[in-house]
């Protein structure tokens, strides 16, 4: 490395421009480049067309995977796309961000047989990309019902719900807190998993069915109330996700350099020039989920010299899949387990290190052992779970039954309040997965449709 480039990379503290534009472009390229035509044929040919296939059972949206793969194999990617989108209108994004290694591809019989599953995710992307490239629309609206449904949140759950409701002929108004649609698809996923402007393009593709109006800057709790929504619409669907972040729970005021991982991830996704994004030379991420991995890997890709994920339990308990953990390790991230934060070190108002205490299980209860370690850190990210947030939380508290700080729902998405359904991460059945949110949004739409017809 030349002297100047080296000096830029090794700047102490939080600084931008650690890497050159070329390095950043390479680092943030599509992590799984799409299959070309021939690769798709070869990959599709590996599918055994299982009966009552385990991959379908493993898919939260129950896409008929053997069928769509056979459609690809027989030269009908459009038919494949329809099969996918019929079950999962956000099949394009799910093809990119689903942890297939713990869902369909884990269940694939070829994973069982040879440890090499059919590349279901990439094949799904092949088909959905083909359809979106041609803007091929597979679904039409039923005759207008005159019914109106208010949907809170233009994320995966809200969009899936809105699309299905629009299909059934209802008018849908979506209330989105941010200035852009997409939710976590737009703001909350590592940039290398969904390159270019795919999230936005997918929203346009989904809403092209018509009958869906999205109002931006309309966060529940600050701009709209549940009561008003119930008054204005025949039914309400809540799919606003989780906007609050758990605190580290440390005493005293947090110094500069301590941030929420989700904010960092969102900034990365929205940045037009990643070279302007400041990143620490030494970064510590507290947490063990996908957010922690997305945050840590991208910190490394921005040029941080040393990135550590500190998790309070063992690696086996991390919410991030083993594949995601390996991805992080492969990028040079250090994963340290059985460590919980106890104290931040500060130097001139900014964080300079973090002291962590070793933990252990004592009769199934996590306890500190008293032994500590201090890691140098000029940036510390919180990735320790999210909450409904102040505004959203207060908007539903008292009206809806909650469990564990999230909205209690029945399997069809019904909440404790008549006329109000919910789905995705804001519910007690949410599991931080786009595909689960899509399934819940879709299913709630069916339940709402049944109720509105009744």
């Amino acid at each position: 490395m030349q002297g100047k480039a080296r000096r830029k990379r090794m700047v102490e503290g939080v600084a931008d421009g650690r890497l050159s534009a070329a390095e950043l472009q390479e680092n943030f390229a599509d992590i799984h480049p799409p299959l070309d035509q021939h690769e798709a044929l070869v990959a599709s040919d590996r599918c055994y067309f299982c009966h009552d296939a385990p991959c379908v059972t493993a898919c939260p949206t129950a896409i008929d995977i053997p069928l769509f793969i056979r459609q690809i194999a027989t030269g009908s990617p459009m038919g494949a796309a329809e099969t996918i989108l019929d079950q999962n209108i956000l099949g394009g994004m799910c093809a990119r961000v689903c942890p297939t290694e713990t869902l369909c591809e884990q269940a694939c019989v070829r994973e069982v047989a040879e440890g090499k599953p059919v590349q279901i995710g990439l094949l799904q992307r092949f088909a959905t990309d083909a359809a979106m490239a041609k803007n091929k629309q597979f679904f039409q609206r039923m005759p207008a019902t005159g019914k109106s449904v208010g949907v809170v949140g233009a994320g995966p759950a809200g969009l899936a719900c809105a699309h299905r409701l629009a299909m059934h002929g209802h008018n849908v108004t979506v209330y989105e807190g941010r200035k852009k649609p997409g939710g976590l698809n737009e703001f909350g996923i590592a940039a290398y998993k969904t390159v270019d402007d795919f999230a936005r393009e997918e929203v346009d593709y989904v809403t092209a069915i018509g009958g869906i109006n999205i109002h931006y800057g309309q966060a529940l709790g600050s701009k709209v109330t549940l009561e008003k929504l119930r008054d204005d619409h025949d039914a309400v669907f809540l799919g606003m996700g989780l906007s609050g972040i758990n605190a580290l729970g440390l005493k005293g005021k947090e110094p500069k350099g301590v941030e929420d991982a989700v904010d960092f991830i969102a900034r990365l996704r929205q940045a037009s020039n990643k070279g302007r994004l400041p990143i620490g030379r030494r970064v510590v991420v507290i947490g063990g989920g996908m957010t922690a991995v997305d945050c840590a890997v991208q910190a490394k890709l921005l040029g941080a010299e040393e990135v550590t994920i500190a998790y309070r339990r063992g690696q086996d308990q991390m919410n991030a899949s083993r594949y995601e953990q390996d991805l992080a390790v492969g990028h040079g991230v250090i994963i340290r387990e059985w460590l919980q934060p106890v104290k931040l070190k500060t130097k001139s108002g900014s964080v300079s290190g973090i002291t962590l205490e070793y933990t252990a299980l004592d009769r199934k209860k996590l306890v500190g052992t008293g032994e500590t370690i201090t890691l140098a850190a000029d940036q510390v990210f919180r990735a320790i779970g999210q909450t409904l947030g102040d505004d959203n939380g207060s908007a539903v508290e008292g009206s809806l039954r909650l469990s564990g700080g999230r909205i209690t729902t029945k399997p069809d998405g019904a909440t404790s309040l008549a006329g109000v359904w919910a789905g995705g991460d804001c519910t007690s059945h949410g599991d931080d997965l786009t595909v689960t949110a899509v399934a819940q949004g879709r299913d709630a739409a069916e339940a709402i449709n049944t109720a509105l017809q009744g």
Partner: protein, 436 residues
């Protein structure tokens, strides 16, 4: 090390693998490359009579069907016999034979069905020093419209007549190449024998339309929007060829007639199967056209390795060994009872055995047992048909197990009898009743 040298109707070659009469043997350049690669012999691409050479289409000559990963399973062609000058071919044949005395050089011929035409060309071929001739009565396309190729091969009387003309005219061994595009291969084989043929070779290509272009509705290969039937070859035709070879080998009238086996031979194993069913050697084309001549290394070493492992010293130890085991359906042992057995440790739970049996056969494989996905043979329903074995993607996961004599067949409720018994003596056979 096993000896795989071959003596086919007096024509000697270092191994039993010849290249069949086809594009790979159209000129000295290709043939010499083949010999350098290790091929035992060639049948030179079919020569026609003197005169202006025939012409080929100037568009595509081949079409294909594919398996996984575009693996070529079958090739179809509309190429005709050599389109090079007769004397150029003869000159090259002579040079090549002189240069490669230990390799077999047989010349394929196709001239009009007139005695003089055959009597004119045979001395010219003889003069090259070639080891033998092969009469092309097989090509199903193009030449057949002009009364040659399979047009002759489909009429046993013509086969006999032309073979006799040739035998009367030349000292060279005469191999008659048969077309599979007939109803019973034994008739043309018998005719060849009656005409004095030294051997038959089979099969030539199967009449076929390989595919249809669904954009312009032209058969492939498409020549300006039109297609013509071609000759189908490659791995997909091997079962057809094996049966025809066996039919001739076990026919009492042609049992002693040497056979050069052709049809989809791609590996040493394919070749060994042809030899076992009575072929004295084999001819290969599509595999070479797909992968090049180097495959001969796998074929010879594979054959040798297998023969060594089995203790076979020479090709004579294996040629025809399976022929006595080819029989008619009516003589199969009806007291041989098998049931499918699924190795649960090997099973990957794809469910294909279940759905194949459930939808299309005997409802003899479970899907769920005690609430779990579990595939198990229901002996009461299993007829031992083997479909589950054939559709299972895992080798040796499902096997057919013979029920020992004395045990009870859960399907029929009857005890398995050790004694051999076939249809000819079965009580349900009306002919048996009639005979009483």
């Amino acid at each position: 090390m096993a000896d795989i040298s071959n003596n086919f109707v007096g024509i000697k070659s270092p191994n039993p693998f010849w290249l069949a009469s086809a594009p790979p043997t159209d000129k000295a350049y290709n043939v010499e490359r083949a010999f350098k690669a290790g091929w035992g012999g060639v049948v030179w691409k079919t020569l026609g009579e003197e005169g202006p050479p025939i012409v080929n289409v100037n568009g595509p000559r081949y079409g294909a069907i594919y398996g996984a990963d575009r693996r070529l399973l079958g090739l179809n062609n509309i190429e005709l016999i050599t389109d090079r000058d007769l004397y150029l071919n003869l000159r090259e044949i002579k040079e090549v034979k002189k240069k490669w005395p230990d390799r077999a050089v047989v010349v394929s011929l196709m001239v009009p069905c007139e005695e003089q035409a055959w009597k004119t060309i045979l001395p010219l071929v003889e003069e090259t020093g070639a080891d033998g001739i092969e009469l092309n009565f097989g090509c199903p396309h193009g030449m057949s419209e002009r009364g040659m190729g399979s047009a002759v091969g489909q009429v046993p009387e013509y086969i006999e007549m032309v073979t006799r003309w040739c035998k009367q005219t030349t000292r060279m061994p005469v191999i008659v190449k048969l077309t599979p595009n007939i109803s019973d291969i034994r008739y043309p084989a018998r005719a060849a024998k009656a005409g004095g043929a030294d051997a038959v070779s089979l099969i030539n290509t199967v009449s076929s339309i390989i595919s249809v272009n669904l954009d312009n509705f032209s058969p492939e290969p498409s020549i300006d929007g039109k297609g013509s039937h071609g000759g189908f070859c490659g791995p997909a035709v091997k079962p057809i060829a094996l049966n025809m070879v066996a039919e001739i080998a076990r026919d009492s009238e042609t049992a002693s007639l040497p056979i050069s086996g052709i049809g989809g031979i791609t590996t040493w194993r394919d070749a060994a199967e042809f030899l076992a069913l009575g072929a004295g050697n084999v001819q290969v084309c599509t595999a070479a056209m797909t992968y090049g001549f180097k495959i001969i290394e796998e074929m010879t070493s594979g054959l040798e390795t297998w023969m060594d492992a089995q203790g076979h010293q020479s090709l004579d130890d294996i040629i025809g060994r399976a022929v006595p085991n080819v029989t008619d359906w009516q003589y199969l042992n009806l007291n041989y009872v098998t049931k499918a057995k699924i190795d649960q440790d090997a099973c990957i739970k794809c469910g294909r055995c279940h759905i194949a049996c459930e939808d299309t056969s005997h409802q003899a494989i479970t899907l769920m047992v005690d609430g779990a996905r579990h595939f198990e043979v229901i002996e009461e329903e299993c007829v031992g048909c083997n479909l589950c074995v054939n559709v299972c993607p895992v080798e040796n996961c499902i096997t057919m197990e013979q029920l020992p004599a004395g045990s009870k067949d859960q399907r029929t409720g009857k005890k398995v009898v050790k004694k051999y018994a076939n249809w000819t003596e079965h009580p349900n056979n009306p002919s048996v009743t009639a005979a009483e």
